[in-house]
């Protein structure tokens, strides 16, 4: 098989980028999309040219490193997979394929197809955890968690943090990402004590990092390699509303009988 590739090349964050056309030759249908790009890079190296920078690591759809917009769609034309799980048998021989990086204000381009997704880590640091110390935890079976509840939490927890949801959203919103994390913890009893603070802190961090707001268009769900449902966004909204009520209900000053009156 042969393909014509139009690949985004950009030397650094401050430089101008452009689409450059390359030929991919000797491609077999059983090759993965990334192996096809490996081949292009080996040939570029052979000609003394700089290879195309792109991210990848596990190549089995779980680490969340790979991040290509293929013909306008994050992770390419198939649903429920990452770029590394896309195989060339999916494309007609001789096709022209356009390859671009994730594009979002919160994901500055480092080089070519590599972007900086550390904003997602900072959103997690704002509250995407349960504060428990190592050691001293009670027996795992003390907490009974129904099968359905555990399965729903697992559906949310399966997010791989690739950022395709952001790349697909015209507002470059990370709402599905935040919704998945907030829901995972809110569904489980272990996450309850911190749920009020968590949802507010993570949404504030999302705004701070320059992600946009949810526009209810569901592109995020359509491109999510783990098919995480937008129902979790509804859950996020409920959590946020709940937090607003709970926080508004709290007295602004601690009302301790021992507090001195001013």
């Amino acid at each position: 098989m042969k393909f014509r590739l139009k690949i985004w090349r950009q030397n650094g964050p401050a430089e101008r980028g452009r689409l450059v056309t390359y030929e991919a030759q000797d491609v077999t249908p059983g090759m993965s999309f990334l192996e096809m790009l490996d081949g292009v890079n080996q040939r570029l190296l052979g000609n003394g040219e700089e290879p195309v920078a792109f991210e990848q690591d596990c190549r089995e759809g779980i680490c969340g490193s790979c991040s290509l917009v293929i013909d306008g769609i994050p992770h390419g034309p198939d649903r429920g997979i990452t770029t590394c799980q896309l195989y060339m048998r999916r494309f007609p021989d001789g096709a022209t394929i356009t390859i671009e990086p994730w594009r979002a204000k919160a994901f500055p381009i480092i080089k070519d197809l590599v972007v900086d997704r550390s904003a997602l880590d900072r959103v997690m640091q704002a509250g995407g955890y349960i504060s428990v110390n190592t050691g001293g935890a009670v027996d795992g079976n003390v907490l009974l968690i129904g099968k359905d509840q555990a399965e729903t939490a697992m559906d949310a927890a399966s997010c791989i943090g690739c950022g395709a949801c952001v790349a697909a959203c015209k507002n470059a919103s990370a709402t599905l990402f935040v919704a998945a994390k907030v829901s995972h913890f809110a569904i489980l009893p272990q996450g309850k004590p911190e749920r009020t603070h968590r949802v507010s802190a993570m949404l504030e961090a999302m705004d701070r990092e320059g992600f946009g707001s949810c526009g209810n268009q569901y592109e995020c769900e359509a491109v999510c390699p783990k098919s995480i449902s937008v129902r979790f966004i509804a859950n996020l909204n409920r959590e946020y509303l709940r937090a607003g009520i709970v926080e508004a209900g709290l007295p602004s000053e601690p009302e301790s009988p021992h507090a001195e009156s001013v």
């Binding site: 779980i62 190592t134 129904g146």
Partner: protein, 637 residues
């Protein structure tokens, strides 16, 4: 010559760890703030260690080469994590997990270490539940278990086929908390390229910022390596493409001894290799062997499609050779059995390197839906890669390099032969002996990081004299110089061949001569070929651009350069061990019917190798003594 003292506490096995913890010195809270610990790697072992050390009050600097600590390769572990909870009341206990692990490792690990691992296994599950990990549950709300290869109880906890992902995200969330609290400084996209040793103590590292190319020195009171295994030395493996040997290999060159490098696990069930462009092998979880049956045609070169081959003409070779464990025989044994039938010419698929993994039986008995619920994501994965539907025709599988039991030598404290250099997770050699059982790597990574290292490192920090080391110390400058000159040498070679070419070549050499089956002539041949290939690399390698910028090809070439040296160490070790044990099969040492023959009189030791400049590495032997179990012939027949 240094003496290797494993520092195993005396007394009864059951109370060694408790008594040891009590005798350890502690660091007071106010002093912890003044102590800095470097953790390299942010997988299960690294993230759990860094977060726990941060929680204890140490200042932690954590480094990883990925763009986020959440991407470390622990994330790809599918099947599960073992723990001696005995929730199924099927006869499990700490003692049984200990014995299974010692036996599974073919009596080539330390009793005291393995017992401690089995003891803390139960705490790991509790800790992970507290962190919010959504383990599979029964309808009544209790934790669910499944069984795994090499054992006869159900002690494996799991989150669908994504257990590694969930455990890593748990450790990562704990890490996020400590980053938010200011206890851990996270430095993603940095790669450790050398170790700084001052007056015999590990006191820092040299790292390269992978975005800017800038080299920098980081000093600390202790250094923890959690940098994973080296299966990628084989080129094709189930590991992520970034997984590499550089950090542990650089530490080796600075004096940390390397133990049992030839103990490399070849996992029996991966999707068989396709064409030459293939960049990785994809694992199909061992849990599939709970219900799938392995078979090949009884006759050679049978080209019929599997459905046309009647029962009587099929050889269910694992069930035939190992009736007691059947398809759940341990990994090393299953892999060799697969290789044996393929070498006989009975392999299936276009290359002949493959056997069937058949689910027709279970689908017939329990229906497609049950199988879909259990293994749906794996069947989907198989379909995407091969284009075949395993619900209707059997999967084809073949062994692939997967995990490395060998690693930097550590004592009971998880400290290497360099004081102040600790090694955790797959990067050390300690607990799995010559073969690791399924679902035990996650257990060991978290045991080391959450529950063992935080105690033992505190004792070191409380007792060692640790004068301050400025960043421009002579040893730091020397390490920086080593790194700079190496990078310069790589980018200035300006040859005609890519790093991938050399990686493929060294991988092929090792797979053929130091893979599932090894013999003296092959290993000797590899030992003469590797230096030639290495010389060619330094003359012919081609890396565009410079070291002062984002340069993925330079990162890769640096790792390949280390494989080209490390491969030799691996072969030296395989050549020295003239016995068959666990994953290490020497053709000279087998019984009449092809079963491995272990030699406890000559090889009941850890082979720990010391680097020597310009000559062959020096072998130290740490004898393995068995006080509590009797090494037996490891039989699964």
């Amino acid at each position: 010559m240094r003496k290797l003292d494993p520092k195993i506490p005396s007394g009864p096995l059951e109370s060694k760890w408790d008594r040891h913890r009590f005798s350890e010195k502690l660091v007071s809270p106010s002093n912890k703030r003044k102590l800095t610990v470097i953790v390299v790697g942010a997988g299960l072992a690294g993230a759990s260690a860094a977060s726990t050390l941060g929680q204890l009050g140490y200042q932690v600097e954590c480094f990883c080469f990925q763009d986020s600590p959440r991407r470390a390769h622990s994330i790809a572990a599918q099947g599960g994590i073992n723990a001696a909870k005995n929730y199924q009341d099927d006869g499990d206990s700490v003692g049984r997990l200990f014995y299974d692990t010692i036996k599974g490792g073919d009596f080539r690990s330390r009793e005291a270490n393995v017992y401690r691992l089995a003891q803390v296994s139960t705490q790991i599950i509790d800790q992970c539940v507290a962190l919010g990990i959504p383990f599979a549950r029964e309808y009544g709300g209790q934790l669910a278990n499944r069984s795994f290869g090499g054992v006869q109880v159900s002690r494996t906890f799991y989150c669908r086929g994504q257990t590694g992902q969930q455990l890593l995200l748990g450790a990562y969330s704990a890490l996020c908390w400590q980053i938010e609290r200011g206890q851990v400084t996270m430095r993603p996209r940095t790669e450790m390229l050398d170790l700084i040793v001052v007056d015999g103590q590990a006191r820092g590292i040299v790292v390269r910022d992978l975005v800017t190319g800038r080299l920098s020195v980081h000093t600390a009171h202790a250094v923890v390596l959690a940098t994973g295994g080296y299966s990628n030395v084989y080129y094709l493996s189930t590991n992520a493409s970034g997984s590499n040997v550089t950090a542990t290999y650089r530490a080796w060159k600075q004096g940390a001894v390397f133990a049992n490098p030839c103990f490399t696990q070849i996992h029996p069930t991966a999707i068989p290799p396709g064409d030459a462009s293939q960049a990785k092998l994809t694992l199909m979880s061992e849990s599939l062997r709970n219900d799938g049956r392995l078979w090949v045609p009884k006759t050679m070169v049978d080209h019929r499609s599997p459905g046309d081959i009647p029962e009587a003409e099929r050889d269910y070779f694992l069930e035939r050779r190992y009736p007691r464990f059947g398809n759940l025989a341990p990994r090393d044994i299953a892999s060799r059995a697969v290789k044996a039938v393929c070498d006989e010419g009975r392999g299936v698929g276009s290359s002949g390197y493959g056997v069937y993994l058949d689910f027709a039986g279970v689908i017939g008995q329990q229906g497609t839906e049950v199988v879909r619920e259990r293994y749906g994501n794996l069947f989907e994965m198989y379909h995407r890669i091969t284009g075949e539907d395993a619900y209707h025709s059997p999967m084809r599988i073949y062994p692939a390099p997967h995990y490395t039991m060998g690693g930097l030598w550590v004592d009971y404290h998880l400290m290497s032969s360099i004081p102040g250099l600790f090694v955790v997770g797959e990067a050390n050699f300690a607990d799995h002996g010559a073969n690791r059982l399924g679902a035990s790597s996650l257990m060991q990574g978290l045991a080391d990081g959450y529950f063992i290292l935080p105690y033992t490192i505190s004792h070191y920090l409380a007792t060692a004299a640790l004068p301050s080391v400025p960043e421009d110390h002579a040893e730091s400058r020397a390490a920086l110089h080593r790194v700079t000159s190496r990078i310069t040498r790589i980018v200035s070679a300006k040859g005609r061949r890519t790093a991938a070419y050399f990686h493929r070549e060294v991988g092929k050499l090792l797979w053929n001569h130091c893979g599932m089956s090894r013999h003296e002539a092959g290993l000797t041949m590899a030992l003469t070929s590797i230096p030639t290939l290495r010389e060619e690399f330094w003359k012919e390698v081609m890396v565009p651009g410079s070291g002062d910028a984002f340069n993925q090809e330079l990162e890769y070439a640096g790792r390949v350069a280390d494989y080209l040296e490390f491969a030799e160490l691996l072969c030296h070790d395989a050549l020295h061990r003239q016995e068959s044990c666990g994953a290490h099969f020497r053709e000279e040492s087998q019984t009449g019917d092809g079963e491995p023959k272990r030699d406890d009189t000559r090889f009941a030791h850890v082979a720990a190798w010391e680097y020597r400049d310009g000559t062959v590495p020096l072998l130290h032997k740490e004898p393995l003594t068995f006080e509590f179990v009797q090494p037996t012939m490891r039989s699964y027949q």
